[in-house]
Assembly symmetry: C2
Homo-oligomer: 152 residues x 2
Amino acid sequence: MSLNEEVELLRNIPLFAKIEPSKLKLLAFTSERLIYQDDQVLVHQGDMGDAAFIIIDGTASVTIDTDAGEIEVAIMGKGDVVGEIAILCDVPRTATVKASSKLTVLKITKELFFRLVNEFPQISIEIMRELAARLERTNAQLRGALSRGSGS
Amino acid sequence: MSLNEEVELLRNIPLFAKIEPSKLKLLAFTSERLIYQDDQVLVHQGDMGDAAFIIIDGTASVTIDTDAGEIEVAIMGKGDVVGEIAILCDVPRTATVKASSKLTVLKITKELFFRLVNEFPQISIEIMRELAARLERTNAQLRGALSRGSGS
């Protein structure tokens, strides 16, 4: 893939839509692109992690291990960011992320992540929105689980 | 309280620790300070909201309504931000926030919030960290609730 094609691809990711092409070239140069096959694991719940991933193509399944077994809490697709909690909070991975199709991701190291959010407020806002939306969904799941628990 | 005292107070909030005093003066001018008595409600789950709150002094209880009744999910204190999910995601308030002591907060309108995160990357990073930490805690509560649910 040519550099221009890479930049075009990055521009189609909402997170990067407002960043100028010259900066996106730099991003394409400094980040690593990885391809996972269906069912391959990107991150394991409990492991330490120093990178986040932006999905360029394909889908990934996010699961958490409970005493009741593995529960899928989200399906992520193109443009979604996964794995940023561990680099924001210095905690072990809070969930397992597994490719649920052939999956192409951009690997964003911790250092690059903080450079990006420092330089591009728009990226921060999108990530805050995503975290807030995820928190809202998780709260809804928790409300549901607690309500069911009381009824059983 | 003098303006200098206000600025000193804001500097003690981790969210603002790295912002220059001249900018903090502007913040002290443009944001509204509110005082709640113990048990007064700041935001009601389900209401629409267009402001976040930064706790300057005192504590607040965050509760969610479930079929099993009201459940306290967090206690917030000095320096904590509450109510930002509704302005980030344009969704109704996801929880009720109530003063659990005499409580002083800075009311940050949606417009001011986005101005702050655009201008000060450090604020974005702190808010992302807080959202990520809260998501991690909620995930842990969900794991617990789902595990208990399976055992009952």
